[in-house]
């Protein structure tokens, strides 16, 4: 009996220890679950053609993550980013997002940067009924009409004309009114879309087209194109180009002595710090689309100054665009919108998030954002800026106002246009 009693005591002690350990372990698991991060997954162009923008976009998203985690995370859980390099190659996108969803088990996904990288994500998001925020795509949802897609890009309800609308509206109000237009752009998706929009607007404003051509993206020398445009003596020259062609066109315009009344429009790349600081005073007079400029009207939005301070402090170490005025504020906005939706709905349910985002106007670091038709911004807000009084190639001049004056839209206007182009060139 005694022996049996001792054995029983030991047995009970063992059972008690095991149960206790299990309870503690389960408690530990429970605690660990409570602190499990909310995973946000995405592909991003960290190499390849769009990586000059993809890397700053990633930095902006990382800054948001750090901001949120400093405040205690979302729903009491820290935020973790899971991302892969899509190499600016749309073919990698399905594989990346399948891995994110099935292997990494992310809770939320956002798109990578750019139209071509968002397009292959659309069918995946639709099939799995995911809420998806797109980063700077152009008309990605025009054909799908997927209700849970939201685009962070101030193109507005009519993305095709969004790049050119401000340019032609400004041209139409100048005195003497310009009459003839030359339009030119690369044989690539964005420039083609922008040219379609430009043609529509040319008709709307009653201008006469005297030159309408495209060129292959791998063109090396742009002087023959600019010479052909010069020969038409066009009053307005609208260019829809990617960074290397924008530089080539602008240099050629100076070398050939192109003197239209208004020049620019849809030139991608002139917004990038490395290009601005290389082109310097050659930029003067160009009227071009933009999304952000360090003008008083744009710096008035809450949180933007703090964001830029943090971004610029981290940009040098990250080896990315040191100013970050083009894409980073919008990349931050994208996750800001997603985070607000999670906090407001207290949920990671995809449908609840989509319903909330659709119904809400968000106050973000780039201003008020409300989504409309096809998930595009309800109201377009593509800026038209003019480079003015740029001296030399120093970077410091671009940090403050007065170099990229906002001409359009009216509510964000920060200065007057210098017209014609030749008057601003010198």
């Amino acid at each position: 009996m005694k022996r049996s009693g001792t054995w029983g005591l030991l047995n009970w002690a063992l059972i008690g220890a095991t149960v206790g350990a299990l309870v503690l372990a389960s408690g530990g698991v429970f605690v660990a679950r409570g602190a499990d991060p909310i995973k946000i997954g995405f592909g991003m162009a960290l190499t390849g053609g769009l990586s000059a923008n993809g890397k700053p976009a990633l930095l902006a998203v990382q800054i948001w993550k750090d901001d949120v985690n400093k405040r205690g995370g979302l729903l009491g859980r820290p935020v973790e980013l899971v991302y892969y390099d899509d190499q600016t190659n749309p073919a990698t996108v399905p594989g990346i997002y399948t891995k994110l969803l099935d292997v990494d088990k992310v809770d939320l996904i956002i798109s990578g940067y750019g139209t071509n990288l968002i397009a292959p994500l659309m069918p995946i998001a639709m099939e799995r009924k995911l809420t998806i925020l797109g980063m700077f795509g152009l008309a990605n949802n025009e054909k799908y009409r997927y209700p849970n897609f939201f685009q962070i890009q101030p193109a507005g309800p009519d993305p095709q004309t969004s790049t050119a609308i401000g340019f032609f509206e400004l041209a139409a109000t100048q005195t003497p009114r310009p009459q003839t237009v030359a339009i030119v752009g690369a044989d690539a998706e964005y420039p083609q879309n922008a040219l379609v929009g430009a043609r529509e607007l040319i008709k709307k404003f009653g201008f006469k087209t005297v030159y309408d051509k495209t060129y292959p993206p791998s063109t090396v020398d742009y002087t023959p194109i600019v010479r052909a445009i010069k020969a038409t003596n066009a009053d307005i020259v609208f260019v829809a180009s990617y960074p290397p062609d924008s530089v080539g066109m602008l240099r050629a315009a100076h070398e050939v002595g192109l003197q239209p009344k208004i020049f620019g429009g849809g030139m991608v790349g002139l917004q990038f710090t490395s290009v601005m600081t290389s082109m310097g005073s050659m930029l003067n007079g160009v009227v071009n689309y933009d999304f952000w400029a360090p003008e008083p009207t744009m710096l008035a939005f809450p949180g933007i100054k703090e964001f830029l301070k943090e971004y610029q402090a981290r940009a040098a170490k990250a080896g990315v665009d040191p100013l970050g005025y083009y894409l980073p504020p919008y990349s931050y906005t994208l996750v800001q919108v997603l985070g607000r939706a999670v906090e407001a709905t207290k949920s990671l349910d995809q449908q609840k998030l989509a319903d909330y985002i659709r119904a809400t106007e968000f106050n973000t670091i780039v201003g008020r954002v409300k989504f409309g038709k096809n998930g595009e911004w309800a109201k377009g807000r593509t800026l038209m800026v003019q480079y003015q009084k740029v001296h030399g190639t120093g970077i410091e001049q671009f940090r403050g106002p007065g170099k990229k004056v906002v001409l359009y839209p009216e509510e964000l206007k920060s200065g007057a246009i210098i017209y014609p182009y030749s008057a601003a060139k010198n």
Binding site: L46, T47, G48, G49, S51, A52, G54, K55, D187, K213, T214, Y215, P216, S218, T219, V220, D221, T223, P224, I225, R227, A228, P243, P244, V247, G248, R251, A252, H254, E255, V256, G257, G269, F272, T273, S274, V275, S278, M279, M282, G319, V320, D321, T393
Partner: protein, 280 residues
Amino acid sequence: MVAGLLLGGFYAAVSLGVSLIFGLLDIANIAQPAFVILGSYAAYVMNSSFGLDPILTGLLFTPVFYFLGAVVYRLYYGSFERRGDESLRGLVFFFGVLFIIEVSLSLKYGVDYRLVDAAYIGKSIDLGGVGIAFRLLVPCLVGLAMTLALHLFLSRTFYGRAVMAVSQDRLALRLMGADPVQIKTIAFGVGIAAASLAGALLITIAPVVPSTDRDYIGRMFAITVLGGMGSVAGTLVAAVILGVAESLMATFFGPSWSLAVSFGILLVVLAVRPAGLFGR
């Protein structure tokens, strides 16, 4: 027409290395455009850090690139050519070199567009009513000088003749007492050294990113094949033909046709003369 001639001079400069390495040595060095971009970045770094002229940098870096080329060839020879594995595995090797250069540049300098500043960039000279951009004129003249220098090297020097010989009959060269591997190392080094200058010319004309090399692979090999494998004069003539064709099409018929017409010319020439314009 003038713009096309200028462009042709530049195309010749970037294609000379391929003409030498692929045309004469029969080594499918796919990584040649990446070496050109490496030359562009050398010019960028020296220009942005010390204000050095990009073309002067290109010239100063030719010994460095020569040495780099010699090392790459020795590696290629030891790993593939000596074993007779050069055809497919060698191609993969050079693809690897291309990606290593690209990724290394991305990691070191980021992926922003890089440009250089020089007194002649953005200025032009008026010649009989035709504005000629110095940004194109200078690379054209340097390209012509490079072509002449390579021609003289191949035709007037012992090593140049040996390079020509190794491309024709390696065994015969060995019987003459010359080491074909040594000669090929020199030729490969010279081809890569040409990339240093070509890269400097490229960044003078247009901004570059590490992946810019991919835009030039097609053109460089097309020019080499059109001119005739290994013919320096043929490379220059082919480069000018492509440059003028691109330029004339861009001016008179719309730029979207320019590349199609250039490669159309290549197809027609190859149909009539499969060895290229100056090929034997």
